[in-house]
């Protein structure tokens, strides 16, 4: 019988803290469930609601781009609408028929034209780099506003490209490897529901939005994202650390413009027409730049999922309220000074901006972080400014 009891070493902790794992699991499940729901929506909702949803996705793609620029890289830009116009015109010109006498087109495949439009917008963003390099803060913001006015002038005068403000021009309907995203082509049914233009466009936009989201998240986590945040927080320190400030800013503008260009191409596919604005308030006007800024503030500067939620609110609210009120008869007064859905949604989104800045400048993203259980913020993109 031995006296010496051999103490087994205490078991090293093998399992990671259980709370953290559960939080991550729940989050992933939530995303999966969301994806399933989004894929299934065209089976349940009518064309009007699908149209509204597509419009929200356009906002989402654009907002993601702007939040990268304003939130991650700290560059205030009011020029987003200009890049939307660039992408819209790019897609229409690249894919337009080459033999039209009134307007110029290159007849390229729509898929290639879409990529081309994004590239054109990105290049224009890069072209603005010398200006963005020299200016800071609000001066940059107001200088970028001049691009919107230039866009207005371009839209009005370059009639062979844009079709002019009186009639505009029709873009080529999108098709991928021959499969048209219109009512034509092979008749498809999913669970008894015919998949026609509204449904097809929904799936296309969903694909583009998911791609945009994934790429943005990757950018934020990568070296590029870190260099943007360094420039945002302190330019002098960033350059001391070896970050090329001008390159980071130029890159941020290029990426953000690329997103805006994609959103612009989606816009013409949604409207079935490219029609440059008749004044500085329109489809590609100051009001649109401000709307994107609102989406980004409400969602939380720098937060990619926040941008999507912001787009849901700013782009979605007027559409949804209009649709509902037509159904329910709310706000349907005629007559002077009537309160209509459009007015109500303007009030709501103005109030949302005020409330966000007053109480939670980190936007909905910060609120979201506070209510999800468990995980401590450890990823740099989640640090509040």
């Amino acid at each position: 019988m031995s006296d010496t009891a051999v103490k087994t070493p205490a078991a090293a902790p093998t399992a990671p803290p259980p709370k953290r794992d559960r939080g991550r699991l729940l989050k992933a499940l939530a995303w999966v469930a969301l994806l399933v729901v989004l894929l299934a929506i065209p089976l349940y909702l009518d064309a009007a609601w699908l149209k509204a949803g597509q419009y929200m996705m356009i906002g989402g793609v654009g907002a993601i781009g702007l939040t990268l620029l304003v939130g991650q890289a700290g560059q205030l830009s009011l020029a987003h609408a200009f890049f939307l116009l660039a992408g819209a015109t790019g897609y229409t010109v690249l894919s337009g028929p080459a033999d039209d006498e009134r307007v110029f087109g290159l007849g390229l495949d729509p898929g290639l034209s879409l990529i081309g439009a994004v590239v054109i917008a990105a290049l224009l963003g890069l072209a603005f780099a010398p200006v963005s390099g020299r200016l800071r803060g609000i001066y940059l913001g107001v200088a970028s506003l001049s691009l919107v006015f230039l866009g207005l002038y371009f839209g009005q005068s370059a009639e062979t490209l844009t079709g002019g403000t009186s009639t505009g021009r029709t873009p080529e309907p999108f098709s991928l490897f021959g499969f048209p995203f219109t009512n034509g082509g092979p008749e498809i049914e999913l669970m008894g529901v015919p998949i026609r233009q509204a449904e097809r466009l929904w799936y296309l936009f969903l694909l583009l939005t998911v791609l945009a989201f994934v790429v943005a998240k990757a950018a934020v986590r990568s070296r590029v994202g870190r260099s943007w945040r360094a420039v945002r927080d302190n330019e002098a320190a960033a350059s001391v650390m070896g970050v090329s400030v001008t390159r980071a800013k130029a890159g941020a503008f290029a990426v953000s413009s690329a997103y805006a260009g994609l959103a612009g191409a989606m816009t013409v596919l949604w409207f079935d027409i490219l029609k440059p604005d008749e004044s500085e308030f329109g489809t590609y006007g100051i009001n649109i730049s401000i709307a994107f800024l609102a989406m980004v503030i409400i969602g939380g500067l720098g937060s990619v999922p926040g941008a999507l939620v912001g787009a849901l609110i700013v782009n979605g609210l007027p559409q949804v309220l209009s649709l509902y009120s037509a159904d329910l008869g709310w706000f349907s007064g005629t007559g002077d000074g009537a309160l209509t859905p459009i007015l109500v949604s303007s009030f709501v989104y103005g109030a949302a901006i005020i409330l966000v800045v007053l109480f939670e400048p980190g936007g909905l993203a910060a609120i979201g972080r506070r209510i999800t259980p468990g995980r401590k913020p450890h990823l740099p993109e989640e640090q509040d400014k």
Partner: protein, 416 residues
């Protein structure tokens, strides 16, 4: 752990499939007892017509007037028995002069209506152009641009902007205000409205050897003083305006203040009675408006009747939109009656009836209309009027319905 994901996905799918999909939803169609075919927007007792208007944006005044005119017509039409035993119902939505809102609202309203009695706003009309053609919904846009006539489903009730100007310039020449070889100015808003008006003055100028100083502005420019300064320097004998009422006020005020004092010609949307209460009021005597839809205060029986009914039903300051909205209703009534005769109240039936309408009468609220020739304006006649604070609706005639010889020769952009 990873096996959970597909399980969740499956669960979500099963849950969703428990709710019914929209498969199997289809429009109603068929025929009623007396063999009249019906489709979307027409039931056995009702016909629904759509109104997509502006209640909150830049054209809310005009939108309000036209909608009220539409409503007055519907009431009268139903009181007289409707058509084919059916009453007319109006389904109204507000797009706030925003093309994106209109684009989303359209799929919601489209299945409910047989056609549109009002579609206000050129960006809205442009955004919905494809939809109207593919859904075959006859629509009456509140725009008088002949560029829209390439679409057979578009029903323009009245003379188009280009012809308004041609008739107007002819009237000015008749009165000796403009002579061959003169220089005139034309201030126009960029877009469908302005460009169409300009087409008219360019045509007339070529015929009479006039030089046109063209000035393009946008719908939000409100100060035309610098422009009028330039036109004065160019020695114009007359100015043509294809602008908004605020811009018209500014142009006329500058015309007087700068001492230019030339006669001014304006398309029908250039004037709004509120200008008579602005400081530009005493400069308005130089303005002549040409329109094919009568002023609110016109001295013709039908207009007086509409005016009385309006005042009994609504309290806002009336404008020219009211008799116009009523007139569009009347034309719709004529088309519906023809479709009823043809026993076809489907969308195709309405389109066919429209083509057969060679003379729609609106009891002189608008000139007699002929919709049978594709791409051609339904009429080329206009009234000439001038602002007058003592008249209700703010204008009075100076020349009743007429058509200039040059107007007969003019070929509209899509005229075949």
């Amino acid at each position: 752990m990873k096996r959970i994901y597909p399980a969740v996905a499956l669960a979500a799918v099963l849950a969703l499939s428990a709710c019914s999909t929209k498969a199997g939803d289809s429009g109603s169609s068929g025929a009623d007892g007396s063999g009249v075919k019906t489709g979307k927007g027409a039931t056995a007792s009702e016909i629904t017509l759509g109104v997509m208007t502006d209640k909150t944006g830049v054209f809310k005044n005009l939108g309000l007037g036209i909608t009220q005119g539409n409503e007055l017509w519907a009431k009268d039409f139903n009181a007289a028995g409707g058509v084919c035993g059916r009453q007319v119902k109006l389904e109204t939505v507000d797009h706030g002069y925003k093309a994106d809102t209109a684009k989303t609202l359209y799929p919601q309203i489209e299945p409910k209506v047989l056609g549109f009695v009002q579609l206000l706003g050129s960006p809205v009309v442009a955004a919905l152009k494809q939809n109207i053609a593919s859904d075959k919904t006859v629509a009456a846009p509140a725009s008088w641009s002949s560029e829209l006539l390439d679409n057979q489903y578009v029903m323009i009730v009245g003379t188009t902007y280009d012809l308004e100007i041609i008739d107007g310039l002819s009237y000015f020449q008749e009165k000796g205000l403009v002579k061959d070889g003169d220089t005139i100015g034309h201030v126009y808003i960029d877009g469908e409205y302005g460009k169409n008006g300009l087409r008219g003055s360019q045509f007339y100028a070529k015929k009479h050897n006039l030089t046109v100083k063209e000035v393009k502005i946008t719908s939000t420019d409100n100060d035309l003083t610098n422009i009028i300064t330039g036109l004065k320097g160019a020695g114009v004998k007359s100015i043509v305006l294809t602008t908004t009422p605020a811009q018209t006020g500014s142009a006329l005020a500058a015309n007087k203040a700068l001492g230019l004092n030339v006669p001014v010609l304006g398309n029908n949307p250039t004037f709004d009675p509120v200008l008579l209460k602005s400081p530009a009021a005493n400069a308005l005597d130089k303005l002549t408006i040409v329109a094919s839809s009568v002023p609110f205060s016109a001295d013709i029986p039908k207009a007086k009747e509409v005016a009385t009914k309006y005042k009994a039903a609504y309290k806002e300051t009336p404008n020219g939109g009211i008799p116009y909205g009523y007139a569009v209703g009347e034309v719709w009534g004529a088309v519906l009656k023809k479709a009823c005769e043809n026993k076809d109240l489907t969308r195709d039936g309405i389109a066919a009836a429209l083509k057969q309408t060679t003379s729609a009468s609106t009891e002189d609220l608008v000139a007699a209309l002929d919709f049978s020739k594709a791409g051609t304006p339904a009429t080329r006649q206009v009234y000439a009027a001038t602002p007058d604070a003592s008249a209700e609706g703010g204008v009075r005639y100076v020349k009743p319905l007429f058509e200039a010889p040059e107007a007969k020769e003019y070929v509209a952009p899509h005229q075949k």
